[in-house]
Each structure stands twice: as C-alpha cells, then as structure tokens.
Symmetry: C2
Subunit: 267 residues, 2 copies
C-alpha cells in the first residue's frame, strides 16, 4: 500500500530534493525523472523507480496505477503526495503527475557491444544537459547502439538531461570514458570514427561510411581538440549557407546521424 507524505519537512522529501545537485546524485547513486510519459517509457524498458511520488488526484489514472503496482511489486516505495511537493522535487512549476527516483544506470565502456548497432554517438565535453538529453533522444530514434560521453560532459542523470531525453535515458546505453580510454577501446575492434568539424572541406554527404560508425561531436563552443581530430578516420563538415558558422551540437549530430543511416547498407 502506498504511504502518504505531504510535509515539505519530511526527511525523505528533503533528501530527494537534494538530488537536483550533482554531488548528491553521485553520493546517493540515485537520480530523478518526472512525468508519466517518461516513467512509463522507463517501465516498458524494465526500469522501475526506487521511490515513486504521485499526486492523490492522479492515482486513478491507469498508467499511474500501473506504475504504482509495478514499483511496489519490485520492492520500491510508492508515495502519495501533492502537486506542491512534486514541484519542489523536480524544480518545475508544472511537474506532471509523477516523479520517480531511480538507481543510477551503469556507464562502463567495456560493457558496450559494438556489433549490436551500425551507428554509435560519441560526444566530447558536451556541456549543455539539454543538448545531451536531446542527443540521447536522437540516438534512440536512429537506433544507435549507445551514447559515449568522452571527458568532462554534462551529467546525463541531471533533471534537464533526463527531461530532454524524453525517456531515451532508459533505452539508450550510456558510457563515460576519458579520450584515451575511448580510443583504446575503439581500436580493439572494427569502427569508423567520424568527427564533425568546421575545419575540413569534406562534405558530410560524400564519404563512404562503414558500419559500425562512431559519430563524434565536440564541445559546443570549441569543437574537438586537434589531438582528437587526428584520431578520426574521417572529418566531415555540414555546409553552412547563412551568416553563422555552426549549428547547435544536438542538431548537427542528428543531421549527421540520419545521413549516415541513409548511406549505410541496410542489414
């Protein structure tokens, strides 16, 4: 049976609120996701929250009922609360009907199976959690094997990244590695490392791509460092027809990913 918490001063609420802070997420190895759509997507991918907060008014909703039942069956804690507390937990004015607290997902590089997909996304020092979440959502859409975060990227378990991923955080494997670790792993097997760059004349539509393609996007402001560009098997550029010299990093990644997908032979 769900228990009820309606006091801001409740220690569990206070503790869960702190998960908006990266340091606390790391210490607790927990993170927060919000909204019925994302939590349902998570459930369908086999992920249930350790704590599920839902509003009294939403308890009749079929999908909320299903989440409560599944959470409790898996040994999690379903907690009825109010909209104010949900807002406080998620930091959003209109947090939707549910907030779930999940155990952090594994992010080890060696567990990825490069043979599982023709395309993989790689981001280097990606700083914006919204971009990171959007790239996860795109990774799901193109059927990528996973997203590999190289060096100091935004936290994929931040509320903003989880929100922008629209649930893809639960369906797309994520790995974190230093550049050296990534390159060492990559070169243990087949893999074409394709870097998006502004400093090349190779149009992104021209090359022959060979699966598995690892599509590398650099830092939003600086792109990737020269040493990383030197490791790439190919550098390609998306043509710019206007005044600006670059696209948003998540946009460039998606345009590239769909183009690579279009060019690779179907398996």
């Amino acid at each position: 049976m769900p228990r009820e918490i309606t006091a801001f001063s409740n220690p569990l609420i206070k503790r869960m609120r702190r998960l908006r802070d990266k340091r606390h997420r790391r210490t607790e190895a927990l993170f927060l996701a919000e909204g019925l759509r994302i939590l349902t997507e998570a459930r369908e991918a086999g992920h249930l929250p350790q704590y599920l907060f839902f509003t009294a008014g939403s308890a009749d909703h079929m999908l909320v009922e299903a989440l409560v039942a599944a959470t409790e069956a898996a040994g999690g804690d379903a907690i009825q609360t109010n909209a104010d507390i949900l807002s406080k937990l998620s930091g959003k004015d209109n947090p939707g009907a549910v907030v779930g607290i999940y155990q952090e997902l594994p992010t080890g590089l060696p567990r990825l199976d490069r043979g599982a997909a023709d395309i993989w996304l790689v981001a280097e020092r990606l700083r914006d959690p919204g971009n990171l979440g959007t790239i996860l959502r795109t990774a799901d859409a193109v059927g990528a094997g996973g997203l590999i975060l190289v060096d100091d990227c935004a936290d994929p378990f931040s509320v903003e990244a989880v929100r922008a991923s629209m649930g893809a955080l639960f369906t797309v494997p994520i790995a974190r590695a230093s550049r050296d670790e990534f390159i060492a792993w990559l070169r243990q097997g087949p893999g074409q490392l394709v870097g998006l760059s502004l400093d090349t004349d190779h149009d992104y539509r021209d090359p022959a791509y060979t699966a598995p393609v690892f599509l590398l996007t650099g830092n939003e402001a600086q792109g990737m460092p020269q040493e990383f560009a030197d490791e790439c098997d190919l550098l390609v550029k998306i043509p710019m027809h206007g005044k600006a010299d670059s696209l948003n990093a998540a946009i460039a990644t998606a345009v590239m990913a769909y183009t690579v997908l279009d060019r690779l032979p179907r398996r």
Copy 2:
C-alpha cells in the same frame, strides 16, 4: 561618452529588467540580447541596440569598443555597469560582457519575398522558446528565407529564444500569422507546403521537392491539427528506429531541412 549606472534601484535598470516579461516586451516593443558574439552578429547584420550595457572591465575589448562606438553613433545609449547588474538584466549567472536592448523587429507576413529563397521554415504552436531559437539558428544555416510562426508560438523575442538562436534572430526574417492568414498568403504564389507528420507512410527521403519549399513543423506534443495537415501538399515522416515515437521538434526540422536542401536542384 558612455554614462555609468551601478545601482540596482536605477529606474532604467528596473525598466529593462522587466523586459524578461512578455507583457512588458510587448508594451515597450523592446527585447534583450546578451553576449558579445550575438551582439556582434547583430551589428554585422545592421542592428544596433537602443541601450548597450557593458562592464567596466570589458570596455577595452576591441569588439566591445566597436559596439559602444557604433551604438553611440547611431544615437543609442551606451551604459557602463557591473557584472551583477548584467546578471540581473539577463537573468543568467554568467551573462558575458554585454547586454543589448533592441527595438522589436518587424514580423509581418506580407513583407516576405518567397522568391528570395528555396526553403522556408514554418512552425505551428511551437511552445518551447529554446526550440524556437534553435530552429532560427538552423534556418540561418540552411539559407532559409525566414521562419513563419503560425498561431500561438513561443515569443521569438524572449531571452531564451534569442540565446538559442545565437544571433540568427537578427539575420533570419520572422513572420507571425494565424493559420488562415498563412494559408491565404501561401496560395497567392508558388510554394510546396511539406508537413512533418507521424501519421503518414511517406518517407522524407522519397518525394520530389519543388522550390520554394515551406517546411511545416507542428506543436511539440500534439503535432499539427488535421485541418492543417489537410492543407499540406505533402506529408512526410522521418523513420524512427528506436522505442520513442518522435524526435525533438527542432531536430526533426533540421533533419528535414538539410534533406530538402540536398534534394533540391542547386540554383
């Protein structure tokens, strides 16, 4: 000569701060942009601020100097201030060296010249200002003639939209119209209205696109209403290979726009 303001209580600061509110932007017909890169892009496109706020420490920077000189030459007001006030104006912890207050740009539909470009972007009830700004940035990159905002969209002059546009707000013409106004205008001349939809079997890579293409993206959560879909000359779909059923609206727009650009004959 620039004057100096360092008091939060200064009436001009108070008034400019209110521009973060949509109602005040409308009343004043002014909006706020921040950061040296965006303000410089604006200047190069011929737009100078009515008020330019800069920090004392940045005044030696060549680009800040150039902005101050150009603003004053054009009859604008250059105001030296401190980082705290810049933060307060932009609502950002780290606002960069400059904040500019600009007169709202024209958004009339009839002034657009459809012959000026092969591709135009159209967004319907787009709610997220970050998506709107990102779509503007993409519009610039693909050389689109402009962005047409149909019905109740996010405000293109909000700080978030201006920020995400990375200056494209100043280089890409924007129009606002109701659906009826837009359709009436569109049908006065050539133009292929291509709608992004989840409810069609037509792959986005298959059709013969004919310039000028008007690429229509619907609301983030609901897509476009059936009546708008019925007006389209073509409905196309970007294939989804994962668990989720849709892409982020700005991502889908960009993937489509680059594909249309690739398929159209070069002029």
